[in-house]
């Protein structure tokens, strides 16, 4: 969904592409914050100067630089840009952590609390007082007051009050994080513990101040194109309905934008289906009482590795569609570089491990198309050798992988039974559910886990949800 912060990020992205293409990014980039927030015009925060300071950090993240690593506050964006342009290749092109928290943008939201508001009428029945299991509520001067030392934030009073007088305020990022990786530090500014972070991107979507930012590889891709490198666009199955027009038109748009070749990652998903099904059948033959989980969602794989070590052996070893797509590209042309284009933050971490050269979000691809004046609906469909299998395109939806594996298995073994369950979105609750599976208390043999509710189509960086 579009909101103020998404709008500004997209506007910045398009401006970067336009300035890059006209060869003036280095000379223009320091002026962008001022141009966007001229004096005497409305500001989004306290004043235009605060806005400009944060725009500078946003641009830093869009150049792929971590805001946390800023050492010299006086260093202008143009200096960062000049440095980066020389080292676009290799390690430098791959940010170690895909996310960065912009301290000056973080509002240091007050700790989660349940509080009574002006709506309280100090009524006679006082259902809040009677329903509080901890006797934390008292009515003082005709108004309910909650003793924060006693309150356990159970929310019973919230449900009890007919005037909606009691509300719960939260720290949105902390609330959204399934693994407790983002916390306010001693300065009251949010910080991500990257040892714990699974890169699900939930905090990125949750923060109303857009303080959590993605470290972009947009300029790396633009620079590589300019150097004349062969970059192949690998479009994730979640691209369906993200842009106007059909996927085949989007492929043409990518080719026009300067990619040397284009393909659907769904072609890789076909291979994942075949191998994952074979792996599943083999595992079941060895031990019919065990279970296997899917492996295509990188945030889920990160979750298993970092937080659920007992489950790791159950995670399928089959590579993800992105990895197979890369293989297909490299078989055709070993010198080509690969660019995964999708809706996912965690894919950035998987790409690093699996030698995919760059990852762009749909938004970043959109910025390239917008900057280069390419309209998807005005493009002819790309002449694909053959369209990807519909089950493979369905990987972007919850149940998609399950359906694909089931179809493949029944084709091989008639009457094949899959005792499948889906974890449709990772949050604190479903994390507990997943742990129950590890203990073998829930009788399933195939567990599909997707970090985003509904699947990748609702990924943190999808354009339309």
């Amino acid at each position: 969904m579009l909101n103020g912060s998404t709008f500004i990020r997209r506007e910045l992205l398009i401006r970067i592409v336009r300035a890059f293409d006209s060869g003036s990014l280095e000379s223009e980039i320091d002026q962008i914050p001022v141009k966007l927030r001229p004096k005497n015009e409305p500001s989004s925060r306290c004043c235009v100067y605060h806005d400009r300071a944060i725009l500078k950090y946003r641009l830093m993240a869009l150049l792929g630089i971590s805001v946390e690593e800023e050492i010299d506050e006086t260093k202008p964006l143009s200096a960062y840009y000049a440095e980066k342009a020389w080292t676009a290749e290799g390690e430098a092109a791959k940010p170690k952590t895909p996310l960065s928290v912009c301290g000056p943008a973080c509002s240091g939201c007050p700790d989660a609390r349940v509080v009574s508001t002006q709506n309280c009428r100090g009524c006679f029945a006082r259902p809040c007082v009677y329903n509080c299991p901890k006797k934390a509520i008292e009515v003082v001067d005709g108004h309910s007051v909650i003793d924060q030392k006693l309150c356990i934030k159970c929310g019973k009073c919230i449900a009890a009050c007919p005037y909606n007088a009691i509300v719960k305020t939260t720290v949105p990022c902390e609330e959204a994080c399934p693994v407790g990786a983002i916390k306010k530090n001693e300065l009251g500014v949010a910080e991500i513990d990257f040892e714990k972070c699974i890169f699900c991107g939930k905090c990125f979507n949750a923060c109303p101040f857009a303080a959590v930012m993605e470290r972009s590889q947009l300029v790396d891709v633009l620079a590589a194109m300019k150097r004349g490198e062969k970059l192949v666009a690998m479009i994730a199955p979640a691209a369906e309905k993200q842009f106007p027009g059909k996927i085949e038109q989007l492929l043409t748009a990518c080719a026009k934008a300067g990619f040397s070749d284009v393909m659907e990652v769904a072609l890789g998903a076909e291979k994942t289906t075949a191998h994952e099904t074979a792996e599943f059948i083999e595992r079941m033959e060895k031990n019919p009482n065990t279970f296997m989980t899917t492996s295509c969602c990188p945030a889920w794989v990160n979750l298993a590795w970092k937080h659920l070590p007992d489950l790791v052996e159950h995670v399928s070893l089959t590579p993800s569609p992105m990895v197979y797509a890369r293989e297909i590209v490299k078989e055709k042309d070993p010198s080509a570089k690969t660019v995964f284009i999708g809706p996912c933050v965690a894919k950035r971490s998987e790409a690093r491990r699996k030698d995919v050269d760059y990852v762009l979000s749909f938004e970043e691809l959109g910025a390239i198309l917008a900057g280069r004046k390419i309209d998807v609906i005005a493009c002819e469909p790309w002449p694909v050798a053959r369209p990807a299998d519909p089950t493979a395109r369905n990987y972007a939806r919850s149940c998609g992988v399950t359906d694909a594996v089931l179809a493949e298995a029944t084709a091989k073994i008639p009457g094949f039974k899959l005792n499948a369950k889906q974890i449709n979105g990772i949050d604190k609750k479903t994390c507990t559910m997943i742990k129950l599976h590890a203990s073998g208390k829930i009788p399933v043999n195939f567990l599909e886990v997707m970090a985003c509710p509904g699947g990748c189509q609702n990924g943190p960086c999808s354009l339309v949800k």
């Binding site: 506007e11 398009i14 401006r15 917008a370 609906i377 339309v464």
Partner: protein, 87 residues
């Protein structure tokens, strides 16, 4: 007015900056407007370059009027005004 012609810019810039939310506007038209509103998705209307990006998404109404920073609500209100008493 008898009929209103609405051209929603689906150029990539406008799409990213908000037109994506207007793609289903046809479904939101009140039944009594049926036949009176013609909606079309258009490639770049060339306003994002000439005017500015901050004005996107752009919608063109009846060939001459340009709506900047269009939203589904703004658009529906304007169509209603143009249809006047007829609606």
């Amino acid at each position: 007015m008898e009929k209103v012609k609405v051209e929603i810019c689906c150029g990539t810039a406008c799409y990213l900056l908000g037109a994506a939310n207007m793609m289903d506007i046809e479904d939101k038209l009140p039944a009594e407007w049926s036949g009176k509103v013609e909606i079309e998705a258009k490639p770049c209307l060339e306003l994002c370059e000439r005017e500015n990006l901050g004005g996107a998404p752009y919608v063109r109404i009846n060939d001459t009027e340009v709506m900047a920073q269009a939203t589904p609500d703004k658009l529906l209100t304007r169509i209603g005004e143009l249809l006047g008493g007829a609606a």
